[in-house]
């Protein structure tokens, strides 16, 4: 018997690893072109103001300055990624008449070097008329609050309703009803490579942009739209991306301003955002105010849930509309709710726009839901594992009107975590273990971008020496999709990873893929690659069959570069030999095949869902409120693992980011001004602060995924804040419903508790 897989589920080194560890990987950050100029962006110091006049004369007069552009130099198009909905395309990027957040671009300069460009910014005179601002969604939605956009009364940007079952009836039947309010904070992506772009416009009216992005296709389309160019006269190149996490698939100010300047000058212009600009003006996780009302039976059976959320939208829509839907959907995850009603309101505020970030609305939902479930379990005296097991989703479950769950390893995950908790024995005082269950999508089904193309495509060309050129449209921002796609291609075609040469990150040579967001690459791009490889294989097999002339009842396959009869693997031919002859036989044409994937009839959200349960063991110092993470164990179902080395890194990385969300990271503001726009005051977890982590793999087979695989890198951002909060609850009896869970909040709550006890 041959092994089931020869490539899948073996730890394969990152195929970009050598380029990256030798310093050869060329990020857009590294691009330098002849005659290149450097750009800087002038940003609004006001959260809300009219632009009365901009005078650029002095700046233009500075030696070394080559051009200054303002909103007047643009086509004035309000763009957005929700292209199907005109009113949701609301961002000009270079504001013409009004600014709506601190950091909004108002002008850009190109000069011979960065220092000169910076100096020129000080010489641009902008006359503003300051307007009253509004900074939180609960204030902004009130009658009479300052209004940001003419079209949006009470600053309501998007609303979302989800409902199934009879909620009112559910509450009537409930033995226990709980109501809670939660506040979920913001978070910044903090990609190590800040947003940047080099744009080069040439006299043949073609624009080439090197940039750090999660979707070169989106950037191509959006740039061509706002610049009035033909889509395929814009070429976007992004070979390596230094982190994305949701921050890099909308059109950004570096891309837009460098392009505008280059079109004016016919010279390449490079713009790199500083870390401070990055914090102030490149979007962030959506803060949310959540109200949850939940009804259950005495034995813990879930009956009804009602959720209402007000999200701080910031000044523009960006990807926030998607976050509003997903947070509502994942609020009911991963459980069976006989009835559920959700109303979401995304509200414009005079703060930096909020958008997609790893987890995409689900970390907020999971924090609130999982905190409340522990409170309910506590009210009823039920074990936290038991209440979750009682209501857990299962394979084949249909979320009414929304989704069908195919593979689901949630109950196995609960078993594993229960076992681990038991193995820990009795904990010392002030220590607690909290759990949270979660799930996530494997790629979004929505097409608000309105692409006419398949969601993912791949092209394969097999050359005379058996080398395979694989062209994909997906983007590797560090999550390892280049390696994953190479492995899927090698497995399906029956060759090894070294036989594949990957081409990606360039709109000129790569087929369209929507990009690396919503955990879509493994499943969507993976299916496209698998289809292309299968078709290429079929062509090779046809030649082998002619050569081997077996009884036609036999099927052939290729494995490990051996083309053979499946029933009699010893009868076969070398892959290399067959390819050589096949190409001759095709009148000298290489073997070419295409594959594509678009989900059809897969519900509203995603073709497949990952599941997991996480346990966090934390210690709380009752004197200082300090929380120490001792241990973090996750049982995770991502279907068939493609690359164990990659999955491990994804899970650990997600956990670190999620722990930061739970207890250290936040973007406090004063009247729309972010108070900690630097890496000292914004606390990303460092190597010394990480707890021990352990990942337990629960394997399932996802029929919709390539080789049974599904999402692995994003879902794990969902549970940690909730699990951590529950750990604090079990350690101290305090439930903190306001993220992040800082020592100050713990101390405050402890004080309150003492006061209560005294009474």
């Amino acid at each position: 018997m041959m092994k089931k897989y020869s490539v899948i589920n073996t730890p394969i080194h990152n195929i970009d690893g050598i380029a990256k560890i030798t310093g050869r990987a060329e990020y857009a950050f590294d691009i330098k072109l002849p005659h290149m100029l450097y750009g800087k962006i002038l940003r609004s110091p006001y959260p809300h103001a009219k632009i009365l006049k901009i005078n650029t004369k002095k700046a233009e007069g500075l030696t070394g300055v080559k051009a200054v552009v303002t909103g007047k130099d643009t086509l004035g198009i309000k763009q957005g990624i929700w292209r199907r909905f005109k009113e949701l395309c609301d961002e000009e990027i270079l504001a013409r008449s009004k600014v709506r957040y601190i950091g909004e671009p108002v002008a850009a300069v190109a000069a011979v070097d960065e220092d000169t460009a910076e100096e020129a910014l000080d010489l641009i005179e902008v006359e503003y008329e300051s307007l009253p601002g509004v900074f939180g969604p609960l204030e902004a939605i009130k009658q009479g609050a300052p209004q940001l956009h003419e079209h949006a009364e009470r600053n309501i940007n998007v609303t979302r309703h989800i409902e199934w079952g009879d909620v009112d009836e559910g509450f009537k039947k409930a033995d226990h009803v709980r109501e809670d309010w939660f506040r979920c904070s913001s978070q910044h992506h903090v990609c190590m490579e800040t947003h940047n772009a080099v744009a080069s416009f040439t006299p043949d009216k073609k624009l080439t942009v090197w940039t750090s992005t999660q979707s070169h296709y989106y950037i191509q389309v959006l740039l061509s739209w706002v610049l009035g160019l033909r889509e395929n006269d814009v070429r976007v190149i992004s070979r390596y991306t230094g982190g994305g996490f949701g921050s890099k698939f909308e059109l950004d100010s570096a891309q837009f301003c460098s392009s505008l300047l280059s079109m004016k000058l016919f010279k390449p212009v490079k713009i790199i955002l500083t870390r401070e600009e990055e914090f102030m003006a490149t979007k962030r996780r959506t803060p949310m105010f959540y109200y949850l009302r939940t009804g259950v039976k005495k034995d813990g059976t879930f009956l009804a849930k009602e959720g209402r959320v007000f999200t701080e939208g910031g000044a523009y829509t960006s990807m926030g509309a998607t976050a509003l839907y997903l947070t509502g959907f994942f609020q009911a995850f991963p459980y069976v709710w006989p009835s559920y009603r959700y109303d979401g309101y995304r509200v414009y505020t005079n703060t930096a726009p909020t958008s997609a970030m790893r987890g995409f609305g689900a970390p907020q939902a999971t924090f609130c839901a999982e905190t409340q479930i522990d409170l309910i379990a506590n009210d009823l005296g039920i074990d936290p594992i038991k209440i979750r097991r009682k209501n857990a989703m299962y394979p084949g479950y249909e979320v009414p009107g929304q989704a069908t769950i195919q593979s689901c390893g949630l109950s196995q995950c609960l078993d594993k975590i229960e076992k681990w908790i038991k193995s820990q024995g009795k904990l010392p005082p002030n220590r607690g273990i909290g759990i949270a269950a979660y799930g996530f999508m494997s790629g979004g089904i929505f097409n608000w971008f309105d692409t006419p193309y398949a969601f993912s495509s791949a092209v394969i060309q097999v050359k005379i020496d058996g080398k395979v050129d694989l062209y994909i449209g997906s983007q590797d921002m560090g999550q390892g999709s280049n390696t994953t796609m190479t492995m899927i291609c090698a497995e399906e075609l029956g060759v090894q990873v070294e036989d594949i040469r990957l081409h990606m990150g360039d709109t000129e040579s790569c087929p369209v893929d929507l990009g690396a967001w919503g955990s879509r690459e493994t499943l969507m791009q993976g299916n496209a690659v698998k289809m292309a490889a299968a078709k290429a294989k079929q062509q090779i097999i046809e030649y082998a069959a002619a050569k081997l002339s077996p009884n036609i009842v036999y099927d052939l396959d290729i494995k490990d570069r051996w083309v053979h009869l499946i029933a009699r693997p010893e009868r076969g031919l070398s892959y290399y030999d067959v390819v050589k002859e096949a190409i001759r036989g095709k009148d000298g044409q290489p073997i070419i095949a295409r594959g594509h994937y678009t989900p059809h009839r897969k519900g509203m959200i995603s073709p497949a869902y990952s599941f997991g349960v996480q346990a966090v063991d934390a210690e709380v110092d009752p004197d200082t409120g300090k929380i120490t993470l001792k241990n973090c164990v996750t049982a995770h179902d991502c279907g068939q693992v493609i690359n164990p080395l990659g999955v491990k890194g994804q899970l650990e990385g997600a956990m670190a980011m999620a722990a930061g969300y739970g207890f250290t990271e936040d973007l406090p503001m004063d009247e729309g001004k972010i108070l900690n726009p630097n890496l000292v005051d914004y606390k990303v977890l460092r190597a010394t602060e990480m707890p021990e982590t352990k990942v337990i793999e629960v394997e399932t087979y996802e029929p919709e995924g390539p080789f049974g695989a599904k999402e692995a890198g994003e879902g794990l951002t969902n549970p940690t804040a909730g699990a951590l909060g529950n750990a604090v609850f079990h350690a101290t009896g305090l439930s903190i419903k306001n993220l992040p869970i800082t020592p100050e909040k713990v101390l405050e709550a402890l004080k309150e508790k003492k006061k209560e006890e005294k009474k």
């Binding site: 970009d16 690893g17 956990m655 000292v680 990480m690």
Partner: protein, 159 residues
């Protein structure tokens, strides 16, 4: 003010004319064309720009360029062995999947090297301490720490 400085970069003597206000990273990435050293903040807080100057890991975004005069500078480009094999550090990072987006990686490797050059038997805590100044947003550090441990073992075996 322009000034000419000479120093050893990855084993070779180099001489460059610099503006006095520039930092080491500017001349490495600029006139010397060594873009392997990355920049994540320019404030000494992320470690992406870490290089080794006379055996010490430093943030090249803060290190005044003129101060390297006569000193010995090692960057990620200088790590390969003479036969072009990867150094034990590089190999260990590849083996353990300690590379995701890769933007922090050169700096991480330089901090790890500076540690192991002076301490051949670091404990896990010492490794984590040595990497304290290097932010990684992708990995959660686990695979990086594993890689440094492997490099330590291999360096010892080599001796």
């Amino acid at each position: 003010m322009k000034k000419e400085i000479s120093f050893t970069l990855n084993g070779s003597e180099v001489t460059v004319t610099i503006d006095e206000h520039l930092c080491l990273i500017d001349i490495l990435r600029g006139p010397l064309g060594q873009t392997g050293t990355n920049e994540g903040c320019r404030e000494g807080e992320c470690g992406a720009c870490t290089v080794i100057v006379d055996g010490q890991a430093v943030n090249s975004c803060l290190y005044p360029a003129f101060e390297v005069e006569g000193k010995n500078v090692i960057t990620i480009e200088g790590l390969q062995e003479p036969n072009n094999k990867l150094s034990v550090f590089q190999q260990a990072f590849v083996d353990h999947g300690a590379i995701q987006c890769g933007f922090c990686t050169p700096g991480m490797i330089m901090s790890a090297k500076a540690l192991l050059d002076t301490n051949q038997n670091p404990t896990e805590d010492e490794i984590r301490d040595a990497l304290l100044g290097n932010l990684c947003r992708c990995t959660g550090y686990v695979q990086i720490v594993e890689a440094v441990k492997q490099a330590a073992v291999q360096l010892k075996n080599k001796k």
